[in-house]
Symmetry: C2
Subunit: 506 residues, 2 copies
């Protein structure tokens, strides 16, 4: 594998002081958040595509996360909002059955309807707690939510076409994201497969979320629901539903979203991010650093385990030396929903840390630490997810109490100022590679002001501000939907390109 | 009782042609709807105070009505939004226990928390189907919704103060509406009582609705929840929680919200609008006159019975000659929630009418017709609540399908034009009574452009456009929170006043 000379880049950065490129105008403004979401309720990791994490303090006591506070993780930018104008005409292909054809949302609405509650959770939720600094959005607890989903069973749809063919081993769903030109579709297409048994047992196509038409940001007008499985499997803007003999050939299935050791590349030999293991965490009071009054307090949080439900949640105020049972708060919405729980404690003045440990109906106990893995997927370790609560005798007059109504900081700044970039010579060479030389060139997918690039497929680099090691690894090996450039760029080209992205985003 | 000479008024109206008062400027604009609500989802019956009815076609298949689509019926204008700024400091008095005192929302949040699902329904829901034209907002089916409510049990709160006193017979909650000056508080104050047994069994003080902090329009930061009881009992912006020996002396309790024969005045001898009887209706497809495609269709609707839950819903396509069982759609959220149901039918080209009949767990069957009553309260007759579905072979290209995403008409027009009023001589005398002579004068409570009145307590008369008989009855007998003026105004004064309101609102 191609090796990057880290020291060379660092050296070139050191030499860069004082060298300025022609100033490039910088004028960006925060986009309006989708679906009535308020900036105060989210950590905005990225905007094109959206990566919106629910603030820990914005989760409620109730079991359903409202649309206005539901996290968003889109792999690619959304299709245009106009697809909702004639939502009922949205159609998708059905393949891999005795017969084949297509159906529209209107067709689905004349079929047997069901509503189920299910947790949606990004595979990378909890990544922020990884010590090896994996790439990707640094989600803490808020890339998860629980909703009521309405639609029809995949089994009923396949039945309409005579049932699945004999070779069917997977249910494969294809998303309707607009793919950019010049990119190998299989590298970026969102297409995921799950075992066909799962597909026939409880998967659904859904058009309603929490009683409202499925919003665009959440895959509307129609998405696949794979109850109890990680978010990536719940393909949005569904255009094709297939019973297939093999897993999808898309990168996102073949090598992406695989649990693999740190440093390893993903492949079919690694477990795919399917069923969500048992997990729990506290959401309040006192999340996001807000002080609370010392004394009696009611802690609350969520607990779930895909396809199983949870039997019990325990809470510890001494880092797991002793545990106490928590009480369930509301109705049980089924094995794929989460349950909210509470426990009364007494908070002493100062920092109080509480951890929680859920046990599911199959007897699985939430581990103290999850197994570290390359991308920081599936973190469910209880030690990482504890809540620190700062208790005080008197709440400050101005600092508001933990009520959920007070705006908090967001990560994206609403900047509209001119900016000049100071780039090293190496970085200046890298800029040409970024904008023209690489195939496809980086501007096709990325937004980066220093390159005047406005691509919408990959992360906005101005907002991501990746570290040098992160850039190098992504360029050489690829990451997520991004192809590897290690084969087409020389060592010094990779260095120059990386230097440019690094310097251009500081 | 004072008798109004209807013929005299009609005569004076006829004589009014050509008589013009000095033009009065007319400039109103629709206010922004609260809580992310969209005009397309509501029939806006009034804006100050809000009377927002969920469009029939805006209900979903799922059991929970999202905040963005939840109806609003406020008896008085809301307190200022600033009360949410320090929500946790919101406090209320506790009375009628061995001890007494006050608690804040922060105190409640340290107590045992629970979440329950309950239907909220305005007593007047279904009033629009009454043949005797009762006064009040003309709700069809949409003054109802089902939500998840989080808070603490009233019983736990009373327990904190040593439990209720021996004489306690009622739980009485007092709302935090700002009362206008010059009005006898007991005439307009929102204070309601329910049996103390009910209060201790399952009533709650709630601060969270569907996972979000309780919005101002729905009583935030804190309201009383009386599960399974009509909306009026669920006092908003709660300032006092009391165990009382007697029912509240407020008019809204003593004579208002009573089931009484047409023409009778309300009193303690009449049943109060407490438990909601068994009821069901269809919400789609094809609500609000939208054509649907002929052929196979899945009808869906809601069914509930306060404190009991429903055992069964039957559907009839022949006006009740024959019935078929419907299927439940989603999870059962408890005895006070509603359940959504569906049934597959085949729609012929043309008009199709379907009615539904729910049976609750106590064996109560939804009646064909509710008993007519003065205010059109508690209408649960299945004959009135049927859904007419227009089915066509080909949907028109432009007319959109029933997808819930297309704006529909709302009742309030966004007018900003000059308007002149043509008033009869009688009406001109009435204008002086409206603005000055009556005690308190009508402008204190009502908005009426022709009087340059901007009162916010009672209905906006420009929007209500009451009929003559409706005006006369309200003036003479009072209605809702409005006092009776029959004792202080002469017969000709009532006629003049009524003529003015009538002519000034055409």
């Amino acid at each position: 594998m191609y090796a990057v000379n880290r020291r060379f880049i660092l050296k070139s950065l050191a030499a860069s002081v004082g060298l300025a490129l022609t100033p490039i105008s910088f004028a960006s403004s925060a986009r309006t958040l989708p679906v009535n979401k308020q900036a105060a309720d989210f950590v905005i990791h990225n905007d094109l595509p959206w990566a919106l994490e629910t603030m820990r303090g914005s989760f409620g006591f109730g079991p359903i996360t409202p649309l206005s506070r539901f996290f968003v993780r889109n792999n690619l930018p959304m299709p245009p909002a106009s697809i909702l104008d004639r939502a009922d005409e949205w159609s998708f292909k059905v393949e891999g059955c005795v017969g084949s054809g297509s159906l529209s949302l209107r067709d689905l609405k004349s079929m047997r309807v069901q509503t189920v509650a299910s947790v949606l959770q990004c595979s990378g939720n909890g990544r922020a707690y990884s010590s090896h600094n994996p790439s990707g959005s640094q989600w803490s607890v808020g890339a998860a939510g629980c909703a009521l989903w309405t639609g029809v069973a995949v089994a009923d749809i396949f039945e309409k076409f005579g049932g699945v063919s004999n070779e069917a081993a997977f249910l494969t769903g294809t998303g309707g994201e607009s793919l950019p030109e010049g990119i190998d579709a299989s590298m970026v297409a969102v297409e995921r497969s799950v075992p066909i048994q799962k597909g026939l047992e409880d998967c659904m196509l859904v058009w309603e979320m929490n009683g409202a038409p499925l919003p665009l940001a959440h895959g509307g007008p129609l998405r696949l629901l794979v109850p109890g499985y990680f978010g990536v499997n719940n393909v949005k803007w569904l255009t094709r539903l297939a019973a297939t003999a093999q897993e999808s050939t898309a990168k996102i299935q073949q090598s992406g979203y695989r649990l693999r050791a740190i440093g390893e590349s993903g492949g079919l030999q690694h477990p795919s991010m399917w069923r969500m293991p048992v997990k729990s965490w506290l959401n309040g009071p006192g999340a996001n650093g807000r002080p609370v009054k010392a004394g009696a307090a009611m802690l609350y949080g969520v607990a779930f385990s895909g396809e199983r439900g949870v039997d019990k949640v325990e809470v510890s105020g001494d880092n797991g030396k002793s545990w106490q049972d928590a009480q369930w708060i509301g109705p049980d919405l089924g094995v794929n929903a989460w349950r909210t729980f509470s426990i009364g404690v007494t908070l002493g003045v100062g920092e109080n840390r509480y951890v929680t440990r859920a046990i599911d109906s199959a007897g699985d106990i939430q581990p103290e630490l999850a197994i570290p893995n390359e991308r920081g997927y599936g973190n469910n370790g209880w030690a990482d997810h504890g809540l620190n609560i700062l208790a005080v005798d008197e709440l400050p007059e101005t600092a508001s109490a933990d009520s959920g109504d007070v705006p908090m900081n967001v990560i994206i700044e609403q900047a509209s100022k001119e900016k000049t970039y100071t780039l090293s010579k190496t970085a200046q060479r890298g800029r040409a590679i970024f904008t023209a030389q690489s195939q496809p060139n980086c501007s096709v997918c990325h937004t980066l002001d220093a390159a005047q690039a406005k691509g919408l497929v990959g992360p906005n680099l101005d907002k991501l501000k990746p570290g040098l090691a992160q850039i190098e690894a992504a360029v050489v090996q690829g990451v997520g939907a991004m192809p590897a450039y290690g084969g087409q760029l020389s060592g010094s080209e990779v260095e120059a390109l990386s230097a440019f992205v690094f310097e251009g985003t500081r």
